[in-house]
C-alpha cells in the first residue's frame, strides 16, 4: 500500500530494565491512510503510548527498537537522525498529550508557546506569528484570544489547556496528529467537547489522526479504523462496525462489555474483564490474552494465534477463528 501516510511493519520495541527485557511492542504492523483516523484502544500498559511515541521518533534508552520499520510519507522514521526527526516534528507530525495540566510550560505565556513553533517552522516574524496564534486559538474555541494569549497556563482550565495544545499541534498544519489519551485527564463533558473539536479540525484541515484511549466508547464515532492492543500486540483490527458488531476476539468483546451504556437498565451491570494486565517481562508463549480468556484452549497457551482475515479490512488474532481447521486436524495442536 504505497499510498499510505504511515506504515508500521513488524515493529518490535523493548525496554531493557534491570529486571530484564520489557517487550513493550511485540511485532506490530499497522498502516494509516492520508486523512484517516486510527484509534489505538487497549487497557493501561498495553503499549499504546510506546507505539505512538515511536512514531514521533521518541525512543530513548532504556527503550530500543529491535526490528521492523516505521515509514511516514516516504521517510523511514526509525532510521532518521535526531536532527532529521526534529525537522518533521511540529511540521509533519505533531502530538497532543494526556495531561494538559502539565504539558504546557508554566513560565511562559501561551502566546509565546504557540508562536515559538510558528516562528521556528514557518519562519514567521513575531508579529505575524502572534496574529496567526490569535486566529488559531480562536479556531479552537477560545474567546477573547488577544487577551488570552498573554496569559499563563495556570490561568486556564484543563479543557482550555487541551484546546491550546490542539492549537499548538495544528499550528503548522501537519499531515499527522498523534493524540495520546487526549481526554483521559478531563471530565466527561469536557471530553466530549475536545473530541468534537478534534473532529471539526480534522474536517477543516484534513490531517490524519492517531488517537489512543483505554475507553473504546469515546472514540467510536470518530475513527475510520480501530486497532485493539493487548500486551504489546494488535489483537484485532477493523472498521468501527467490525469491532463493535462483528468482533472476533475475546479481549475486544470484553472491552465492549465494559463500556457503560446510556441505555442500560438498572439491573444490567458493567462487566469488567477479570484478571490482571500482562506482565510484559515474561510474556506468555501463546496468545497474550490466554491467562484471562474464558474460552482459552490448549493451543492458545502454546502458539501465538496468527491473524485471520474476517472481512475486507477486519483481522483478528484468535485461535477461535480457526476452530474448523483444528477440528479437521489441519493444525497440529
Amino acid at each position: 500500500m504505497a499510498n499510505d501516510l504511515l506504515e508500521i511493519k513488524n515493529l518490535r520495541l523493548s525496554f531493557f530494565v534491570p529486571s530484564g527485557e520489557v517487550k513493550a511492542i511485540n511485532n506490530v504492523s499497522v498502516s494509516l491512510k492520508r486523512g484517516d483516523v486510527l484509534g489505538l484502544v487497549g487497557e493501561s500498559g498495553s503499549g499504546k503510548s510506546v507505539l505512538s511515541h515511536a512514531v514521533m521518533g521518541f525512543v530513548s534508552p532504556p527503550g530500543k527498537i529491535l526490528g521492523g520499520s516505521i515509514d511516514f510519507n516516504g521517510l523511514r522514521i526509525n532510521e532518521m537522525t535526531e536532527k532529521e526527526k526534529r525537522i518533521i516534528r511540529g511540521t509533519e507530525i505533531s502530538m497532543i498529550f494526556q495531561d494538559p495540566m502539565t504539558s504546557l510550560n508554566p513560565v511562559y505565556p501561551i502566546g509565546t508557546q504557540i508562536c515559538e513553533v510558528l516562528m521556528l517552522k514557518n519562519k514567521m516574524n513575531r508579529k505575524t506569528a502572534w496574529y496567526k496564534a490569535e486566529q488559531l486559538i480562536k479556531s479552537v474555541g477560545i474567546i477573547d484570544p488577544q487577551r488570552r494569549l498573554t496569559q499563563y497556563p495556570h490561568e486556564f482550565s484543563g479543557g482550555m489547556r487541551q484546546r491550546i495544545m490542539i492549537a499548538i499541534a495544528l499550528a503548522c498544519e501537519p499531515r499527522l496528529v498523534i493524540a495520546d489519551e487526549p481526554t483521559t485527564a478531563l471530565d466527561v463533558t469536557t471530553q466530549a467537547q475536545i473530541l468534537e473539536l478534534m473532529l471539526e479540525m480534522k474536517e477543516k484541515k484534513g490531517m490524519a489522526i492517531i488517537i489512543t484511549t483505554h475507553n473504546l466508547g469515546i472514540v467510536a464515532n470518530m475513527c475510520d479504523r480501530i486497532a485493539v492492543m493487548y500486551g504489546g500486540t494488535i489483537v484485532e483490527y477493523g472498521t468501527v462496525m467490525d469491532i463493535f458488531y462483528e468482533s472476533r476476539h475475546e479481549y475486544t468483546k470484553g472491552l465492549i462489555n465494559s463500556i457503560p451504556k446510556l441505555t442500560a437498565k438498572k439491573e444490567e451491570k458493567l462487566v469488567p474483564i477479570e484478571g490482571t494486565p500482562l506482565n510484559m517481562l515474561v510474556p506468555p508463549l501463546g496468545c497474550p490474552f490466554a491467562p484471562r480468556c474464558k474460552l482459552c484452549m490448549a493451543i492458545c497457551l502454546k502458539k501465538r494465534p496468527p491473524y485471520t482475515q474476517i472481512a475486507s479490512v477486519h483481522y483478528s488474532a484468535c485461535w477461535l477463528n480457526q476452530k474448523e481447521e483444528f477440528e479437521r486436524d489441519a493444525i497440529n495442536v
Binding site: 514521533m56 521518541f58 526527526k85 526534529r86 525537522i87 518533521i88 516534528r89 511540529g90 511540521t91 505533531s94 502530538m95 498529550f97 495531561d99 502539565t102 504539558s103 504546557l104 510550560n105 508554566p106 513560565v107 505565556p109 515559538e116 513553533v117 521556528l120 517552522k121 499563563y152 495556570h154 495544545m165 499548538i168 499541534a169
Partner: protein, 305 residues
C-alpha cells in the same frame, strides 16, 4: 508590587530592630570589656574610659542612648581605632569585601549553572560523574581547608600568585577562587538536581514534539524552571558573601568587613560589633526581598502577598 516592596521593607526594619536589641543585650553576657586588653591599664584609667564612652551607666540607659543615636544615623565611634567612626570602618571594609564578593558570586553563578546543566544533560555519563565528584568535594570540604591548601600550593609551592593583600588583579585570583569555591559547587548540585527533575516534565516532551533544538529546550524551556532553588540559595549567600568571609580575609590578610568583625569581636569593640551586625541584618533583609521579586519574575504562578 511597589506596595509589596514597601511593606516588606517596613517588616525588614522591624527585623533589624529586633536583631539590634537582642545583640545589644547579648553583648553584656560576653565576659571581658573593651579596655581590658590594653597594656596594663590602671583601675582609674579603665573607669575613666568607661565613663567617657558611657559604659558605666545602667544597661537600659546605654540601650536608650544607643538607639537614639542610631535613629539619628550615628553608629558611634570605634573603641579601638578611636580616630574612626564605625560608619567609616564599615564602609571602607565593605568596599573591599563587596568587590571580592561580587566577583565570586558571578563566577559561582556562571560556572555553577554551566556545570549543573552539563551534568544533567550528560546524566550518568563520564562528564556528569566528574562534575558530581567536584561538587561533592566542594560542598563537603570546609572552606578554610580548601583555602589553606590553595594557598600552600599556588603561593608557596608554585609561587604563581602573591600571598597577601589586594594590590593588583593577580592578588584577586586566589581569594576570589576560594570564596567562589563553595557556592560554585553548591549551585552546580542544585542546578543539576532541579534540571534532572525539569527535563523529565511533560512540557519538555511538548517542546521536543514541537521540534525545538536541544539548545532551545535546555536554555529556554528547562533552565528557567530549574532556577528557583538557585535563587532561594543565592539570596542569603549573596548577603554573607558581600559582608566578607572572615576566614578568607584573615588568611589572605584582606582588610574587609570580615577582618573588621574579627578584631571587633576579639577586642570587645561594642559599637563596631553592633554596627556590623546591623549592617549584615539590613543586607540580608534586602536580599530576601530581592529574591522574592526575582521569584515572581521567573515564575508567574507565584503571588506576592
Amino acid at each position: 508590587m511597589l506596595k509589596y516592596i514597601i511593606r516588606r521593607l517596613f517588616l525588614g526594619l522591624f527585623t533589624v530592630f529586633a536583631v539590634t536589641t537582642i545583640t545589644f543585650f547579648l553583648l553584656f553576657l560576653v565576659p571581658g570589656g573593651p579596655f581590658l586588653a590594653e597594656k596594663a591599664p590602671s583601675e582609674e584609667v579603665i573607669a575613666e574610659l568607661n565613663a567617657r564612652y558611657g559604659l558605666d551607666k545602667p544597661r537600659v540607659v546605654q540601650y536608650k542612648n544607643y538607639m537614639v543615636n542610631l535613629l539619628k544615623g550615628d553608629f558611634g565611634v570605634s573603641l579601638k581605632r578611636r580616630e574612626y567612626t564605625v560608619k567609616e570602618i564599615i564602609m571602607s571594609g565593605f568596599v573591599v569585601s563587596a568587590r571580592l564578593g561580587v566577583l565570586a558570586i558571578l563566577i559561582a553563578v556562571i560556572f555553577g549553572m554551566i556545570g549543573g546543566v552539563l551534568a544533567a544533560y550528560y546524566h550518568g555519563k563520564f562528564l556528569d560523574n566528574l562534575l558530581v565528584l567536584f561538587s561533592t568535594w566542594g560542598v563537603a570540604v570546609p572552606s578554610f581547608i580548601t583555602t589553606i591548601v590553595f594557598l600552600l600550593f599556588f603561593c608557596v609551592k608554585l609561587s604563581i600568585f602573591p600571598i597577601m593583600g589586594l594590590f593588583s588583579p593577580l592578588h584577586y585570583v586566589l581569594p576570589v577562587t576560594c570564596l567562589a569555591f563553595y557556592p560554585t559547587a553548591y549551585i552546580m548540585r542544585l542546578v543539576r538536581i532541579s534540571m534532572l527533575d525539569v527535563l523529565g516534565q511533560d512540557y519538555i516532551r511538548t517542546a521536543r514534539a514541537k521540534g525545538l533544538s536541544t539548545f532551545k529546550i535546555i536554555f529556554k524551556h528547562a533552565l528557567r524552571n530549574a532556577l528557583l532553588p538557585v535563587i532561594t540559595y543565592l539570596g542569603p549567600t549573596l548577603a554573607w558573601i558581600l559582608i566578607g568571609n572572615f576566614v578568607i580575609e584573615k588568611v589572605f590578610n584582606i582588610p574587609g568587613i570580615g577582618m573588621a568583625l574579627i578584631s571587633a569581636t576579639l577586642g570587645r569593640d561594642y559599637p563596631l560589633i553592633m554596627g556590623i551586625t546591623i549592617f549584615l541584618a539590613f543586607i540580608i533583609v534586602l536580599m530576601n526581598i530581592l529574591v522574592d521579586i526575582l521569584y515572581k519574575i521567573i515564575d508567574p504562578r507565584i503571588r506576592l502577598v
